[in-house]
Symmetry: C2
Subunit: 350 residues, 2 copies
């Protein structure tokens, strides 16, 4: 397909709980809205592709591989590796993976590769919080982080919010154990100082300082930055607590006929809430910091979620998310400096 017809999204169909055919059905929905897609998966399960969709037969899956990095390195025929390689070669402009975060991360880093000047990629997740959408990153690409990584995450998350999520000037915050600027781990204190000094007056995003765990649902920020260890824990606590609360209410509603009647009467009113917290609406987790945008849809998604992931990936390519991120980091002087230029600067007495 020619690029002048708009970006092409490469999609790995292996790894979805409902099977590769559900991902293909999602691609068909996205294609009906004008998306152009190349599917990598078992051709015999993907059916006849509609206009706008191509199929590359790639039946080998590494979605369940225990060591994704080794699997990506040793399995060039795997669907995710072929999809990532197509993106790296410029045959597609964005990557969508239908299941395993581990293999998507590994294929992204090893095949698509980091964008120039980026220290570390990050996984950003727009949280399905009713009336207060907020994007949390990193939710688990790197367990440990340094100050310069978190500073870049702030720019990467802000660019995503601007280019793909429709927030004109995102409010960016650091996740901490207190709102005050002097509260936090050593890492947060350093990063806070850097963002507070570097950013004022920037029209790229507004740094709103530290936020607490409760601010994942309070609407205090559009983008919340943290290391992948803390971000993963915060996310899993959020998922666990919301599921446990809903299931406790469901059990309570089963304890007596009166309560059952109450639950039935309440159900239609809860539909809007359930829709708002539906993770499929956000398309999945965004793999930022690579040469091209990647999206990791959740393995549990239905075709609607996969269609949304593909449409969001296309939007990221159309809006040049990667280029915007680079330009903003460059302007702020926050790109990774190569060892050679550090040496020159040191010699110059900096």
């Amino acid at each position: 397909m020619a690029l002048e017809d708009g970006p092409v999204v490469a999609v790995d169909c292996n790894g979805a709980d409902l099977g590769p055919s559900e991902v293909a059905a999602g691609a068909a929905l996205a294609a009906a809205q004008g998306a152009r897609v190349v599917l990598f998966g078992p051709a015999r399960e993907l059916g006849t592709p509609p206009p706008g969709v191509q199929v590359v037969d790639a039946p080998v899956s590494i979605a369940k591989a225990p060591d994704p990095v080794r699997a990506v390195r040793s399995t060039p025929e795997a669907s995710i590796v072929q999809a990532a390689t197509a993106v790296a070669a410029g045959e597609a402009q964005a990557l969508v993976c239908a299941g395993s975060t581990g293999s998507a991360l590994a294929a992204g880093i090893l095949n698509v590769k980091r964008a120039s000047g980026i220290f570390r990629p990050a996984l950003a997740l727009p949280l399905p919080v009713p009336s207060h959408p907020v994007t949390l990153l990193d939710v688990g690409a790197n367990a440990d982080a340094r100050r310069e990584h978190l500073v870049q995450f702030a720019f990467m998350g802000a660019a995503l919010a601007q280019a793909v999520l429709g927030v004109a000037r995102p409010r960016v915050a650091l996740l901490s154990n207190g709102n005050e600027p002097d509260r936090g781990s050593a890492l947060v204190l350093e990063t806070h100082a850097e963002l507070a000094e570097r950013i004022p007056g920037s029209d790229f995003f507004e740094f709103v300082g530290n936020v607490e765990g409760v601010d994942l649902v309070s609407g205090a920020a559009d983008v919340i930055v943290t290391d992948g260890f803390t971000g993963n824990i915060a996310l899993k606590v959020m998922e666990g607590v919301s599921q446990a609360t809903l299931s406790a209410i469901r059990s309570a509603a089963a304890t007596s006929p009166v309560a059952q009647a109450g639950g039935l009467l309440l159900r239609p009113a809860l539909r809007g809430f359930r829709e708002e917290i539906d993770p499929e609406r956000q398309g999945g987790a965004y793999l930022l910091g690579l040469r091209r945008l990647g999206i990791v849809a959740h393995g549990r998604f239905t075709r609607q979620g996969f269609a949304q992931a593909i449409l969001r990936a296309r939007l990221g390519a159309t809006e040049d998310l990667v280029g915007r991120t680079h330009a903003a980091l460059e302007q702020a002087g926050a790109l990774k400096v190569s060892p050679a230029s550090v040496a020159r600067a040191t010699v110059a007495g900096r």
Copy 2:
């Protein structure tokens, strides 16, 4: 009061949202169950003490002080400082504070002082999770932690679970971004190795490895150990998400007469759930690692919560929580070694 009549609990009455009289009412409830209490607060607001309760007039409060450490140092007449000093002097065997975590921490560390061989105190919170109680520590005493701190936290939390919370052989876990032993921050990986090697065969607690954020509500462990930065964030996410979920359901139940009727019918069935997640049942957060047990009740508590805090503090003293912790740490070789003995060991070629 004489010690042979059982331990005495020193209680700081300042800082409660409902005022010092509510704390005094809680003390009266606890005294009716045999507790012996000394209240520190404004005597004219505390009423006539019932048998078992003494009052020390201490009207000065530093519960709202912006810099608790400085306030504790410069305000010896403050109620929390007087209460902590009474504990340090052996006039009382446990400390309960009715409000500010910051001033309780500062007075605990500066006046009650760290127990011998303890690196850092920690704040442990039994989480009100229906049918799966779990104690999380540290929830915010120290933003940064080292491996040897987390190892001690494991013992401190296990001792609390045994002595005060009624868990015979607690399952202790490390909070991480994955269940696998090789997942985690550098700090978690080091601590995991230490606990996995040091502890097998111990009958003090069972180390069950890493748990994820969702395991705060899954029942996978009785005690979950983490640094104070991560613990505080996990706790605040938990509070925020459960409140947001309940309030979203409450709003949904207000959208139409039918939904309202459903909410009304469901309400009685939800009473048990609301009671199970009531934080007053746990008495508050436990300040561990000092020469005596401290409990920080929440400022929002009613008299029932303050009574529970006093009864739990008494139990901690009766069951010798501090002595048990020390003995277990000593047996495991996990006590802090003084610089002098390190020097001797080094000279001996260790």
